[in-house]
């Protein structure tokens, strides 16, 4: 037991320690060995330019795929399928779970309406809204009113209240989602519906699904021979309030949306994120979402990965689910909100000790697979935490602290020019982002001026500045907290839409 505690702490410390050793080491070396730091900075800059060029290409490939698959009538395809194992789409039920807190009706109604507007037969759709008891009576009254409004529109519309202080639980979304899933289980048991035929989608309260979403999901589920051993990940876009959001918030959310599109092209690293779907049977088998961890969306993937001894993957679906940009009226409150949201995402580093502890216990996963997956988690979070700081703040240090002699050396003289050239080359990726932003934008609302389209384009030129401020700092914050054992609490990103 003590040994386990030791290893868990060790794995909690490693990411933060690596990040701080890198940043602190480079800072110190800038004084004593500016030449080494300059060589590192040039190497890193080149690596970064090539990396983002490569990722931009993947983004374009993913976008092209999205465009192509958008035109598919998935439901028709489902109907035409003749699955070898006899699972027909008419046997499949979709359960959509919304763990909610204090999101008002203005947030929840559009989400439920999107389900109502989906082209999947509603008599095979179940909606579950699980609201936190601590959210108060108003929140409960709101979801109860939704039940009245929608109870006849779906096979079942379940509303439930997740009590506080259940032993073993902490105040995280996963605990609420688990409670909702258990309520769903009671219903399925009462109707004797086979769990294998139920696909559960865990959506954020503001998630609006596309019309084709459930048809597409059913198609991928039916055609996957190992359907139980896969999660199904749509592409999250932040279109709900994108026209009304602050540029800084829009940039960050679009950036994360693009990262998700890129991830769909890198299946060996692909992990569930935010709103996702999976077999209900698998969910029950693995013991639901974690009830004591913040990053429930990714931990559920790792739970399944360990449960199936590494034989678990994420199937990308090229359909979008739309969510809200975390924005506010003022710039500073928006930055704070974005910072907190990104820090919560960066807290996904808690997956590392979880996975490493799981790997220690699980002897059936091949060592090579363990090493590769552990490296993937560590590398992605480490890069997240250091890249913007290295490019923005570490790069000029050799010139500042290196002294006159260093500035007289060829590398001291060349460093600003080489860095600037590489930075300028990297700016071409902005044009890729602009192109995809314009293509993915929802129609302009009537209350938004035409000139806002221009803002949507030029906002991307702010990205180096936004990256410098919010690119790495939330990740450093999250990793440092984990390293010091100061565990984070779940922060609910307040949703606000222009009425």
């Amino acid at each position: 037991m003590e040994r386990n505690k030791f290893y868990k702490r060790l794995f909690e410390i490693i990411p933060g320690l690596l990040t701080w050793l890198t940043l602190g080491g480079l800072f110190m070396l800038a004084f004593v060995r500016p030449l080494w730091v300059a060589i590192f900075v040039i190497t890193f800059d080149l690596y970064w330019v090539i990396r983002i060029s490569y990722l931009s290409l993947l983004l374009l490939l993913a976008y092209r795929r999205l465009e192509r698959e958008k035109k598919i009538d998935w439901l028709k395809r489902c109907a035409e399928l003749k699955p070898p194992d006899g699972l027909y789409y008419k046997d499949i039920y979709h359960a959509v779970l919304f763990p909610a807190y204090r999101e008002g009706l203005d947030i929840l109604v559009p989400s439920i309406s999107s389900l109502e507007n989906a082209n999947y037969p509603k008599d095979r759709m179940i909606v579950v809204i699980s609201v936190e008891e601590r959210a108060g009576q108003k929140a409960w009254d709101d979801v109860s009113s939704l039940k009245e409004r929608y109870k006849d529109k779906f096979l079942q519309f379940i509303v439930t209240r997740h009590p506080d202080n259940i032993p073993g639980e902490v105040k995280v979304k996963g605990a609420n989602a688990t409670w909702g899933a258990k309520e769903l289980k009671y219903f399925l048991d009462s109707k004797k519906i086979n769990y294998s035929n139920v696909i559960i989608s865990c959506f954020d309260a503001d998630t609006c699904a596309e019309k084709e979403y459930f048809g597409c999901l059913a198609y991928h589920y039916i055609t996957n021979p190992k359907r139980m051993q896969s999660s199904y990940q749509p592409i999250p876009v932040y279109n709900n309030n994108v026209w009304h959001a602050r540029s800084i918030a829009r940039l960050l959310e679009l950036g994360s949306s693009f990262m998700q599109m890129i991830e769909t092209m890198r299946l060996e690293k692909f992990v569930t994120f935010s709103s996702h779907s999976m077999s209900f049977k698998t969910l029950v088998d693995v013991g639901y979402w974690p009830v004591d961890m913040i990053s429930d969306d990714s931990v559920i993937y790792w739970k399944c990965f360990l449960y199936f001894n590494g034989a678990y993957n994420v199937t990308p679906m090229y359909v979008t689910v739309s969510m809200d940009v975390a924005t506010d009226k003022g710039i500073i409150p928006t930055i704070i909100k974005q910072y907190k949201q990104k820090r919560r995402w960066a807290w996904g580093i808690e997956n590392f000790p979880y996975v490493m502890m799981g790997f220690r216990e699980n002897k059936n996963i091949p060592m090579l697979v363990k090493m590769r997956r552990a490296f993937n988690i560590l590398e992605s979070h480490y890069t997240w935490a250091v890249w913007a700081i290295i490019i923005t703040f570490i790069a000029p240090l050799p010139l500042i602290f290196g002294g006159g002699l260093f500035r007289q050396t060829a590398i001291g003289y060349n460093l600003p020019g080489v860095s600037a050239t590489l930075f300028n080359i990297s700016l071409f990726t902005i044009f890729v982002c602009i192109f995809i932003t314009i293509r993915l934008l929802p129609p302009r609302p009537k209350d938004v001026k035409r000139s806002k389209v221009f803002v949507m384009i030029i906002q991307w030129f702010l990205s180096p500045l936004v990256a410098a401020v919010l690119g790495s700092t939330p990740a450093v914050d999250a990793q440092t907290r984990l390293m010091l054992g100061k565990y984070m609490h779940f922060y609910v990103t307040e949703k606000s839409r222009k009425k």
């Binding site: 300059a38 080149l46 490569y54 490939l61 590398i411 460093l415």
Partner: protein
């Protein structure tokens, strides 16, 4: 993922890796100042020469050979050693220097000024002048001429005669504006003129904007003058002594002898911030000359007290005489 996309991704990935490992040595060697000779598979240490001139756009000659770039230019991949550098531009004097290029280092010559062969010479005034003075705030020129004092803007425009005075002393050694800029001390070794500038017309006896007054004819050669107590006194440093001359009021001016030199001072400096006069004088003890020492004379408040006592004594003496 479709196999086609998977293939594209694999190609892109391996291409990126290959590109990184190909570009890295090239980029680092360039940054560090190395040159790769791909034919001989050798790496050489080189240095960089950076030249910039005012005006820019000058031709560069390295060991007599014309370089393709004009200034400002960064000449790379130079083998370490000495180079004869010439920077030339038509209409300007050439700049030439022997510069040493060191391995992996930058040799900079970025402050080269090329002087034009034909100077931009403009005659400010058309008539003959004896002398001129430029105001401390550098917005007026005053001309001492045979027909009076003139003033103009700094470019020579708006010339105005401000006084008919023309009896100027020769061999002027000092021109000093008072701190408030309203008066000018104009002096040679023996004669001190005080010029009142911008005279208020209501107070002036004539229409002149300036009044010239000869305020002192010194017994000994004057070394320097300094304004003291605003613009009301001047400190007169001659070869023999230091005295203070009162400028206030009309009639006879009070003069206070402050110090007598043993020998002519080699240098005199007045520090306006703390009202102290620094000077050299010979130390003499028991009639023996012991060489020069540096002295500081405090002319602040304590000096005023001494001055007051002195004046009172003078007044008392005058009173006794009258009796």
């Amino acid at each position: 993922m479709k196999d086609n996309d998977r293939l594209k991704r694999a190609i892109a990935f391996y291409f990126s890796v290959a590109l990184f490992f190909t570009l890295l040595p090239i980029l680092l060697s360039y940054s560090l100042g190395y040159k790769i000779d791909y034919k001989k598979f050798k790496i050489y240490k080189t240095g960089i020469l950076y030249l910039n001139s005012t005006p820019a756009g000058a031709s560069i000659y390295i060991n007599g050979k014309l370089h393709t770039d004009l200034t400002p230019a960064r000449i790379e991949e130079l083998k370490p050693g000495s180079y004869n550098i010439e920077v030339k531009r038509e209409g300007f004097y050439a700049w030439e220097k022997e510069l040493t290029v060191r391995p992996n280092m930058v040799t900079k010559a970025d402050g080269i000024v090329l002087f034009p062969m034909t100077q931009d010479l403009k005659r400010i005034v058309k008539y003959p002048i004896y002398d001129f003075v430029i105001s401390d705030n550098k917005n007026r020129i005053y001309y001492m001429t045979g027909s009076g004092i003139f003033e103009s803007n700094m470019d020579g425009s708006a010339v105005k005669k401000i006084s008919p005075y023309s009896d100027w002393p020769r061999r002027i050694i000092g021109r000093k504006f008072s701190p408030d800029g309203t008066r000018l001390l104009y002096f040679n070794e023996y004669v001190v003129h005080l010029i009142y500038l911008n005279v208020d017309k209501s107070e002036a006896v004539s229409e002149d904007k300036a009044i010239v007054e000869q305020i002192l004819i010194s017994e000994y050669p004057i070394i320097d003058l300094f304004w003291y107590a605003g613009s009301n006194y001047i400190i007169v440093v001659s070869e023999k002594d230091i005295s203070v001359l009162e400028l206030l009021g009309g009639g006879r001016r009070n003069v206070a002898l402050v110090y007598k030199f043993n020998t002519r001072p080699s240098n005199v400096y007045y520090d306006y911030s703390n009202n102290s006069l620094y000077f050299t004088d010979e130390k003499r003890e028991l009639g023996l000359k012991e060489g020069n020492r540096l002295y500081r004379l405090d002319l602040s408040q304590s000096f005023f007290n001494k001055m007051l006592k002195f004046l009172m004594k003078m007044e008392a003496k005058k009173g006794h005489g009258e009796k």
